[in-house]
């Protein structure tokens, strides 16, 4: 005669399922698949919390563990590959003949393809209206990676970014082929941490 109740049987089945899901998360390579697996992992742990007589913890786990944490992962994985460029020059450096065929665009596209980045060029009016003296502050305090400005006298384009970035040193060596492009790297300032 079986002397285990239905609840105990369910608990064992869920625990074995939990171990299988944990192994699947550890061995999988694709981040998109792992996000789906971690959502189901959270739902299985929430059912185990209820079996352990803790419904309040189960509510918190369903709300946070299986809704907010996958959202955080999705946002951060999609944001990670973004390379944000602020175009202050706004002439044919990026867009010529209403198409993305400018010299600067081709250089930046070559550079971002090298690192499998996603190029995102913006000319946000609020950020562009700030003076040139505040470019370094803009680089440090917002998520802008590169700022394009134009020197009207010498007719050269200046690309500004943070010096600590390895990406920018590569861009500097790539831009040496062009005469009218100059890369300026801001030094890291010590914030006294």
């Amino acid at each position: 005669m079986l002397n285990v109740t239905m609840i105990e049987l369910t608990a064992y089945a869920l625990q074995v399922l939990l171990i299988i899901l944990a192994i699947a998360i550890v061995v999988h390579r694709n981040n998109g698949t792992i996000i789906i697996l971690i959502t189901s992992f959270s739902l299985v742990t929430a059912s185990l919390y209820i079996i352990n007589k803790a419904p309040d913890v189960a509510i918190a786990e369903v709300a946070i563990g299986s809704a907010i944490i996958p959202l955080i992962y999705v946002i951060s994985i999609s944001r990670q590959r973004e390379f944000i460029v602020l175009d202050k020059a706004m002439d044919d450096f990026i867009i010529s003949d209403n198409q993305f065929t400018g010299v600067g665009y081709i250089l930046l596209k070559r550079f971002t393809d090298l690192y499998h980045l996603e190029l995102n060029i913006t000319n946000d009016a609020r950020l562009c209206s700030l003076g040139a003296g505040r470019d370094q502050l803009l680089c440090e305090q917002t998520n802008v990676d590169l700022i394009i400005t134009k020197d009207e006298e010498t007719n050269t384009y200046i690309l500004k970014g943070k010096k600590s970035s390895v990406l920018l040193q590569k861009l500097d060596s790539m831009a040496k082929d062009y005469d009218n492009i100059e890369v300026v790297q801001f030094k890291d300032r010590d914030f006294g941490d």
């Binding site: 419904p55 944490i69 951060s76």
Partner: protein, 111 residues
């Protein structure tokens, strides 16, 4: 419920943490360990087989409510730790151009 099976989940998390080559993968493994620890705490507070901790008439044995209150805090703090770790991961990617541990160490030594 068996605390040994819960402990296996924690060990799988530690195995993944020590063998992962990717920063994002390490953050996933921290999430697994956290879930395992919560389950172990709740399991140890409920070994005698009580009921849900709401005291009423005819209720003699309840599950220990103290670990449950602590574990709600753990879930909330765990989500913020995940968010902070992933934010640092994005910063590392923009600094080194990769999120592989070995590649980051190689570039740091090559400077």
């Amino acid at each position: 419920m068996d605390p040994i099976l819960t402990f296996v989940v924690i060990l799988i998390g530690f195995y993944g943490l020590s063998t992962s080559t990717n920063i994002i993968k390490s953050v996933f493994c921290v999430t697994i360990i956290e879930s395992g620890v919560i389950l172990l705490f709740l399991n140890l507070g409920n070994l005698d087989g009580g009921t849900i901790p709401i005291v009423g008439e005819g209720v003699t044995m309840i599950a220990d409510p103290l670990p449950q209150a602590l574990m709600i805090t753990t879930i909330v703090i765990g989500s913020t730790v995940t968010a902070l770790a992933l934010m640092l991961c994005i910063k590392v990617f923009h600094h080194y151009g990769t999120v592989e541990w070995a590649e980051i160490l190689r570039r740091e030594e090559g400077k």
